[in-house]
Symmetry: C2
């Protein structure tokens, strides 16, 4: 299968490397890592075992790649206004698009540009950070939950899930990708938000019982906002405890992407991760005081 | 009148200087500024006009001061476990004590040690910061609201208010000092809390409409907690807008004391300003999610 990875941050490099190792023809759209990867290939340091891809097809522009079978979008959401430029040249009549980006609004925007029939959304539970150019560190987890934007394409979503499973990624298809997005937000909003705001790792936050209560409070608001959207099946309240347990099992020094973005002076994914979920919840009449405050403070910082 | 200022931070130095200039015999208990003030006196840079007191009675220990008519307590509340040592030697049979400290619990603790009959509480709306040793900067406001801890001592509270008015401090006595304390908390909790958390001045916070909404949300929680205490007269909701207008009229670069404490690595007044009000509100069944989160994050930071 010919696959383009658009947005080669930690997520794009890691899953792209697995897809290539599994026998697919993977093209990486690169920026920071272009020179290093063209010269030296791509090194993956993974809790499941390190591996090295000496020859990697890296490109600077999507036009050099051309049409592919599958576009995997791993861009930071603040680059979404470049979808046309970055994804457009890769799309032919039969191309599928899978966005693994965080937050809300990505599938819808891509569907507007390229058609809903080819759109799939996935939620990646991946702890990974980029190392020096040409290196990615897989620190934990890695499961993907994915689904088609249109219910009639469930079989295609299942074939994409099978593709990921075939290269060693735990992956399953779901009927309701919007529920999966909101489930991820139950983690993303408190942990990306508070780690970025406080410049503390997940373990440093969870070491404080008071902050853990605040995390629970934020999660409860996200679950309430999710369930107000008319999901086919509501997210149970206990999901918050599951996410806290999941996080306690992580490397406590793990820094979510928004914390790294802030540390390194990059823009933050506030629109997709905070503003859109807030707007969706408030449209259903919820006050969401903690998420509102978190967004306000991150927007200031 | 013989007056001891216990805790000579910006507040103690400023009001003590006015009391001395007005003809009272003022003794300052000093620590950081002891050498400078003994050598060079005390300089007040004030929006109402600068003045200089060349000769100031500064002491290192309360025992050197002995019994006074009035003890004005301006200690940081994290020094309250030193009340016995710092205030005790100043108290004779007729001594009055006025605490101008922030937050809850100060009058009660002093009353336990020295008797409720001598206890008065005051709330100072003062923008002042210490400068170099021997210098205090009065940047704005300065009004004091004070009252007796026991209702039967209202006349004494009125005489204290008259003392402050006689030296140029806008001051009035109130029946319900607890209501006045909570009114001050409506300002203190959001502004001390958020300025310290974000390391931003009051004007930097109010420049963000989103953060201003968060401030309003926190103020609404403080007002709810206050009114759940059975105040003789509830604090109206509109008080929050008055406090925001009051703050917009300040020097926008003003940094509340907790922000300075954090900048300079000192302990924060979390117990008196956040933990005790939270406990009081939760005891009345309120959830107070924003204050709870603010306390959790300040406690981490």
């Amino acid at each position: 299968m010919r696959i383009a990875m658009v947005g080669s941050g930690a997520l794009g490099l890691y899953y792209g490397a697995l897809l290539q190792r599994g026998g697919n023809d993977v093209c990486f759209l690169l920026r920071r890592d272009y020179d290093a990867i063209r010269r030296d290939g791509l090194r993956v340091h993974s809790i499941h075992g390190d591996f090295y891809l000496p020859s990697v097809a890296g490109f600077r522009h999507s036009g050099e790649i051309g049409v592919v079978d599958l576009v995997v979008v791993g861009l930071k959401t603040w680059s979404n206004d470049r979808y046309h430029e970055l994804v457009g040249p890769l799309v032919g009549p039969a191309t599928m698009i899978l966005t693994l980006q965080n937050g809300l609004g990505n599938e819808e925007r891509l569907a507007e540009l390229f058609g809903a029939h080819r759109l799939h959304g996935g939620v990646a539970y991946l702890c990974a950070n980029r190392g020096e150019p040409g290196t990615v560190h897989h620190l934990g987890a890695g499961r993907i939950v994915l689904g088609a934007l249109l219910a009639e394409n469930a079989d295609r979503a299942e074939s994409l899930a099978e593709l990921f499973r075939s290269v060693g990624v735990p992956c399953h298809g779901v009927d309701d990708i919007m529920r999966a997005r909101w489930e991820k937000l139950v983690w993303n909003i408190p942990f990306n938000g508070l780690c970025a705001l406080m410049q503390r790792s997940v373990g440093e936050l969870l070491a404080s019982p008071k902050v853990t209560e605040t995390i629970r409070g934020i999660m409860a608001e996200v679950i309430a906002a999710a369930n107000a959207q008319g999901l086919r099946e509501p997210i149970p309240e206990v999901y918050a405890e599951e996410m806290i347990a999941f996080t306690r099992a992580m490397d406590p020094t793990y820094r979510p992407s928004m914390q790294l973005d802030r540390m390194e002076g990059r823009p933050l994914e506030l629109e997709a991760l905070l503003a859109k979920p807030l707007m969706a919840g408030k449209a259903r009449g919820l006050a969401l005081p903690l998420i509102t405050a978190l967004y306000a403070l991150l927007d200031l910082s």
